[in-house]
């Protein structure tokens, strides 16, 4: 699994892991006792991981957020939630496979779960369009949100997309209109709403599931108005500046918490979510359950007003000096 890792910064970790595996193999085949050597290497590995993951640069976090072995929406549906019953289609054009949605239970309580779905390999990615929805994906999401609103159940969205798909059909069928409508309609929902950025939160295509009472991020997720690569190409005139762009965009979970955009950050196990799916899924369940409880305890109108106030406060501007 780690051998196919696309990360640059965990190369040493992967080499050491391979070394340990080789040593264990040799010992087994030769009937030798290599326990103490393996022990030394394993504690070295632990330190190495702590160092590498303890001081991740923003671009390394971007790589982690896009990691193909990170848990996706479907994986959380199987772990954080139970009783998932998928629903398909926007009732207008077709079913978009890059967004999953349906009823599920969170600690027994019925909730609507909607999330972007990426693929782990090329075949899956072609099926899921790399987690990049067309308008019909957003319209399916909105249909399910309205259904949850009708029956008074909380809505939880899982955000994990490079962005909305920029293609001919998407433009013809109103990509911009579909996203815009979701933003406005999500603002108006009367049930508790929570969004979680589980991987890459790519611009408007992410926000179209993200106008919610609470915004949560996994520790190594990123959320940005543009990819570091795109930003570098435009402002630095070279994609090579993606490290600088990632730094400047302030797109990591701690950055977004500091900017007042994100309400809560779910810690990931050392080594990232891809190393321990169950662990991070459990942590997410606890966090979600807490927020659902808090939101359900609020008066319905107060809750929605608080949502509006939250968005009204976002941004930084200067008023004129009083005369």
């Amino acid at each position: 699994m780690m051998a196919s890792s696309p990360l640059d910064f965990d190369k040493n970790i992967r080499e050491l892991e391979a070394q340990i595996e080789r040593l264990q193999g040799l010992a087994r085949d030769g009937g030798l006792d290599a326990d103490s050597e393996v022990g030394t290497l394993e504690s070295k590995l632990k330190d190495l991981k702590k160092n590498a993951y303890g001081s991740l640069t923003p671009i390394e976090r971007v790589q982690l957020a896009r990691h193909p072995n990170r848990p996706f929406t479907r994986d959380y549906l199987e772990r954080t939630f139970t009783d998932f019953m998928e629903m398909h289609g926007d009732r207008l054009y077709r079913n978009d496979e890059s967004i999953l949605g349906g009823w599920a239970r969170l600690e027994g309580r019925t909730v609507m779960v909607i999330g972007h779905q990426r693929g782990r390999d090329m075949k899956e990615n072609l099926h899921r369009n790399f987690g990049m929805p067309h308008p019909e994906g957003y319209r399916k999401a909105l249909r399910l949100m309205h259904q949850a609103d009708k029956f008074g159940h909380p809505i939880i969205t899982l955000i994990d997309t490079p962005g909305a798909y920029p293609g001919l059909g998407a433009e013809e069928r109103g990509q911009a209109e579909a996203i815009a409508r979701n933003l406005r309609e999500m603002a108006a929902l009367r049930v508790p709403t929570i969004s979680v950025v589980i991987g890459e939160g790519g611009s408007g295509g992410a926000l179209a599931l993200g106008v919610t009472d609470r915004i949560i991020m996994l520790e190594n997720a990123v959320y940005s108005v543009i990819t570091p690569e795109g930003c570098a190409a435009i402002l630095w005139k070279t994609a090579d500046a993606k490290d600088k762009a990632a730094e400047a965009l302030k797109l990591t979970a701690p950055d977004l918490k500091a900017l007042g955009v994100v309400d809560d950050v779910v810690p990931e196990p050392t080594g990232g979510a891809h190393g321990d799916w169950d662990g991070v899924a459990d942590a997410l369940r606890e966090t979600l359950a807490r927020h659902v409880r808090e939101l359900e305890a609020m008066d319905r109108d107060d809750r929605r007003r608080a949502r509006w106030r939250k968005y009204e406060a976002l941004g930084e501007w200067r008023e004129p000096a009083p005369a």
């Binding site: 909305a164 815009a180 933003l183 630095w236």
Partner: protein, 289 residues
């Protein structure tokens, strides 16, 4: 007619280089050399081919609003630098040079006043200020215009021209899409009219928020309107885009705008839609055709 045009073209070819650009303008569509004064009087619509040239935000305010009736709001609002953003230049420097160039503090004018005698709130975007990009000030000013509409129980009109998000404000730029949509959700529930006018170009985050959310969406002829920019799409699908793709006429055909309206008729059309929505009698002066 033919001889007259020919003669004009002759003059053009001879004096093209020397034509002072503050007196003459060449139409990119039909090639006519036009007096700027004449073009301005015609609301920057080419008298020969009706091509809609770019028009300043102030000029748009005066073409829509009744004479001397417009009160500007929040003109002094300025963006902060929430990310301490620095690419090849620090963001505050970009803001300052944009202000010098555009003659205003950010990419939108807001205010209120009568339009054909109907009290409305108006926001007009200015493409000359960092490509009409949406940062905190654009989001805040448009939200305030919408909130004023809500309080006064009046309509809202937004004229868009934007390349999308203000990258230098990062996630806070993205959140302006949500912020303005939150304001529009309240207008929607209060059953107040909102008219969105889309001009060339309107793309990215502005299209994917308030520009597409009008009760009535009106587009100027030939305007580029879309979510993704044409270059991004070409790179994604690895083929050339068809002629007219993402132009106003394409959006009308695909059901995304209610009508394409010549700028010279925009005021009367807007007034006509407003009068229908608000249950007001037909205007004495304005045409609704």
């Amino acid at each position: 007619m033919a001889w007259f045009r020919k003669e004009k073209q002759k003059l053009t070819a001879a004096d093209k280089r020397e034509l002072p650009s503050d007196v003459f303008e060449k139409c990119p569509e039909c090639g006519e050399i036009l007096y700027r004064n004449r073009l301005e009087q015609n609301l920057w619509v080419c008298p020969a081919c009706a091509h809609h040239h770019r028009i300043g935000a102030e000029a748009y305010v005066s073409l829509l609003m009744d004479e001397d009736g417009f009160t500007e709001t929040d003109a002094e609002l300025r963006s902060g630098d929430p990310l301490k953003f620095r690419d090849l230049k620090p963001y505050p420097e970009r803001l300052k040079s944009a202000e010098r160039k555009a003659g205003r503090g950010d990419a939108v004018i807001t205010g209120y006043g009568p339009l054909d005698g109907i009290d409305v709130n108006l926001a007009v975007m200015d493409f000359s200020f960092i490509g009409g990009s949406m940062g905190s000030v654009v989001g805040e000013k448009i939200s305030r215009a919408a909130r004023r509409a809500l309080l006064q129980e009046e309509g809202l009109i937004v004229v868009s021209a934007s390349g999308g998000a203000r990258m230098m404000e990062g996630i806070l730029s993205l959140m302006q899409m949500a912020k303005t949509s939150v304001a529009l959700a309240q207008l929607q529930e209060a059953r107040l009219p909102y008219i969105s006018i889309l001009t060339n170009p309107t793309t990215g985050g502005v299209t994917a928020s308030y520009a597409m959310l009008g009760d009535v969406n009106l587009a100027e002829p030939g305007a580029l309107i879309g979510f993704a920019g044409p270059r991004v799409i070409e790179q994604t699908i690895k083929q050339e885009l068809p002629e007219g793709f993402q132009r106003s006429e394409f959006l009308l055909e695909h059901g995304m705008v209610d009508a394409i309206v010549d700028r010279r008729a925009m005021k009367s059309r807007v007034a006509g839609y407003l009068r229908h929505m608000l249950g007001l009698p037909r205007s004495e002066v304005a045409e609704t055709a």
